[in-house]
């Protein structure tokens, strides 16, 4: 099953390498990984998307906890949460008809065209990973030139938090 794990990490040199190394060393999957500082400059927040059976996920959270620089973590997928991913996608858009179709499609997905040339559109879409997958699927007709995805960021709904 797919899990989204949020981690508060001491912002020390090498601490990210430790997290990534753990996954490589123990043969766990990383589907996506995002990391950036928080409002507290001494800590980074990671969002990790992984999959595995319950036993594997239990080991992943336990092993992450064991890393000295991991301050706190939370398996977001265990309760209500919001997840978002950002995608920038560059597509060929040459004929007038073609350009209209791409634009319509972007509108449906609430994407924004953020760069235009005579031959291309670059579109920004934000949403769940599923939504971004669906957008790529919908654009299959138009030839996709380049795709950049940020990886998932997530946060728990309601009162639940992952803070110090």
């Amino acid at each position: 099953m797919r899990h989204i794990i949020s981690v508060l990490l001491e912002n020390e040199p090498g601490s990210l390498a430790r997290v990534v190394g753990l996954f490589a060393q123990r043969g766990y999957n990383i589907d996506s990984l995002t990391v950036a500082p928080t409002e507290d400059a001494t800590m980074s927040r990671l969002t990790l998307v992984t999959h595995g059976n319950d036993q594997v996920i239990e080991q992943i959270t336990k092993q992450l906890h064991k890393l000295i620089e991991v301050v706190k973590l939370q398996d977001l997928s265990e309760s209500a949460h919001v997840e978002r991913e950002l995608m920038l996608i560059k597509v060929k858009a040459t004929s007038g008809e073609h350009r209209d179709e791409v634009k319509r499609c972007a509108d449906i997905f609430r994407g924004q065209i953020i760069d235009v040339t005579a031959k291309t559109y670059t579109i920004q879409v934000v949403g769940t990973s599923d939504k971004l997958d669906a957008f790529i699927e919908a654009l299959k007709g138009a030839s996709i030139i380049e795709v950049v995805r940020s990886g998932v960021s997530g946060i728990a709904r309601g009162e639940k938090t992952l803070t110090l």
């Binding site: 430790r18 000295i68 991991v70 301050v71």
Partner: protein, 579 residues
């Protein structure tokens, strides 16, 4: 003395390293000098509190420090230079990591501004050691040195112990740049705060389950040894009159001579220990990690058992075998809490069920009982270990290398006290035995320290005979010389129709002459009747290193041995018999 108006002392980074070790109470530092750590060595030279032991290869320094930790419970400390000095220490760090042994390793590093430039003797030691340490750090400001050293000891020794590497760039130790020195009394980290006491509710549940058991067993491991809890374990076991088995790492946690002890369990465990485990209805696992050398096929593991698992590391619990009653905590306070509850409760163990259970166990004991064929003109390795056990009254510190000799030592030496059996279980490092014996002997000069080894393993760190001479380390080397990489040969006998691919060593040295060349005494034993006099000669003195080159039966196998892929109770009992 008030510290308010006394100005802190000003020390160089190098002096701070040594001073912090002294303030931590470190007596010995095991190491080898080189360019990146010369400032530190110079600071060492200028004081006398911390003594340095110069080994002949950095691997030996790590094993010495590691064995000191296994015997004393306190972290051993290593100092090596950058590059090859640091990489030579890697096997020793991994050995300590796999067995959860506290150790602090100080590695030199090139000057900060050269890092990343492939400078002379630069290796990324933080990167190399990351998967084999509990934690690693580097010094970025000389004034942080006291804090970082305190932090290294705190992390190495608390929770589940393990090795910590501190990488020190040379420019952090400049002799002429001084900084205020103050050694922190304690350290608190917001991201690391291991629990000590177990959850009271879980402990209650565990006691209830234990008292209900009809076929109980206590399975104790290395966590009891390093957690200094042998006393509590023994008290609990005696109070309940339950059988006890120890892992390879747990030998000595419960006295081997006691009737309730059923021997080691696992791959080369006793028949009765493995049978007791397999048929148990309640297993109390204490500081043991259900290693694959214990469980054999996890799918067939102990089908009827309710498993209570006490471990300080949540990741050890339900990793390979699901625990029904997990208790996260240090074994010592958790066992003490269990004892206190037993005291309170009026309930007693089920006496009739227990009587039947003991009767069954005694029947299993009669089946194999560690018997081996000793009716031969060639000396049997098992007989040698039994003789060593007798002459040292089961009180010696016994270190070992890796192979058949290690298993014979584990099976036939009677370990009645904790912290006396010192071997590499998790990594299985050949070359561990001699330096380990040295680390123990240096710190316990009045004790008998025995290194059980094989002609293959001893050659992996044979150069340390020179260190032994320099520091007068009178260890007794029991070289069970079978002329083969015996453990490999045994597997080739059992699984490869005796095709001995590279398991025979030609051109072995004359070990007696070799010992003499290093300034020690060497004795060769080739016949059974020569053994006792040789042992008596060897153990007559405490400070003479004696190398006993004992020629034993090259055909001997270690039994019992679990059948691959089988349950814990499926074993070969001899070359011709299996369960």
């Amino acid at each position: 003395m008030t510290s308010q108006n006394t100005k802190p002392e000003m020390l160089s980074g190098a002096a701070m390293v040594i001073r912090a070790l002294a303030d931590e109470g470190v007596e010995y530092l095991y190491g080898y000098p080189g360019g990146a750590v010369l400032h530190i060595y110079d600071a060492l030279f200028q004081q006398s509190k911390v003594k340095h032991v110069l080994v002949r290869h950095e691997q030996a320094a790590t094993h010495m420090a590691d064995a000191y930790a296994r015997a004393s419970g306190k972290a051993g400390v290593v100092l090596v230079t950058s590059g090859p000095g640091a990489t030579n220490a890697v096997t020793g760090i991994a050995t300590a990591y796999m067995d959860s042994i506290p150790m602090v390793v100080l590695t030199g590093q090139v000057m900060s501004h050269l890092i990343g430039e492939d400078a002379f003797q630069e290796t990324d030691m933080l990167g190399i050691s990351r998967p084999i340490v509990k934690h690693n750090m580097s010094v970025r400001r000389p004034e942080d040195i006291p804090y970082l050293i305190k932090k290294a000891f705190y992390i190495a020794q608390s929770g589940r112990p393990g090795p910590v590497v501190l990488d020190i760039p040379k420019d952090m130790t400049m002799p002429n740049e001084r900084y205020p020195y103050q050694y922190p009394e304690s350290i608190k980290l917001r991201s690391y705060n291991p629990t000590a006491a177990g959850h009271p509710g879980q402990i209650k549940k565990a006691v209830t389950a234990l008292l209900k058991a009809k076929r109980p067993v206590i399975y104790a491991g290395g966590g009891v040894i390093m957690g200094q809890a042998a006393e509590e374990l023994t008290e609990l076991a005696r109070k309940l009159n339950y059988p006890v088995t120890n892992t390879l790492m747990g030998l000595g946690a419960y006295p081997a001579a006691d009737r309730q002890f059923v021997g080691m369990l696992g791959m080369h465990g006793s028949y009765e220990a493995n049978m007791t485990m397999h048929h148990a209805d309640v297993i109390l696992a204490v500081g043991a990690r259900f290693d694959d050398r214990v469980t054999n096929n996890t799918k067939k593991f102990c089908p009827d058992a309710t498993i209570i698992h006490i471990d300080i590391d949540p990741a050890s619990i339900s990793k390979t075998i699901n625990a029904h009653i997990p208790i996260v905590g240090l074994v010592k306070p958790v066992l003490a809490a269990m004892l206190a509850q037993l005291e309170q409760k009026k309930a007693q163990p089920d006496a009739p069920a227990l009587a039947t259970w003991w009767q069954q166990i005694d029947e299993w004991r009669a089946v194999h009982g560690g018997r081996y064929d000793n009716d031969t003109p060639v000396l049997k390795p098992q007989a040698v270990i039994e003789a060593v056990s007798r002459i040292t009254k089961g009180e010696a510190y016994v270190t070992s290398d890796v192979g058949q000799h290690q298993m014979f030592a584990a099976q036939y030496y009677q370990f009645n006290k904790p912290n006396r059996w010192i071997n590499s279980g998790g990594l299985g490092t050949m070359g561990f035995g001699l330096p380990a014996a040295m680390g123990v002997k240096l710190n316990y000069p009045d004790a008998d320290v025995v290194c059980v080894t094989g002609e293959g393993s001893i050659q992996m760190n044979i150069q340390e005979l020179s260190t032994c001479k320099q520091y007068g380390l009178g260890v007794k080397i029991i070289n069970l010389n079978n002329g083969y990489l015996g453990m490999v040969k045994q597997w080739q006998d059992m699984n490869y129709e005796s095709r001995y691919a590279s398991s025979y060593m030609d051109s072995l040295p004359d070990f007696v002459k070799l010992a003499e060349a290093y300034g020690h005494v060497g004795i060769r034993v080739t016949k059974p009747e020569e053994l006792q006099p040789a042992l008596e000669r060897a153990f007559a003195s405490k400070d003479q290193l004696v190398f006993l080159d004992i020629h034993v039966d090259p055909k001997e196998h270690v039994y019992p041995m679990q059948v691959p892929g089988g349950a814990i109770n499926e074993m070969f009992l001899s070359k011709t018999k299996r369960t």
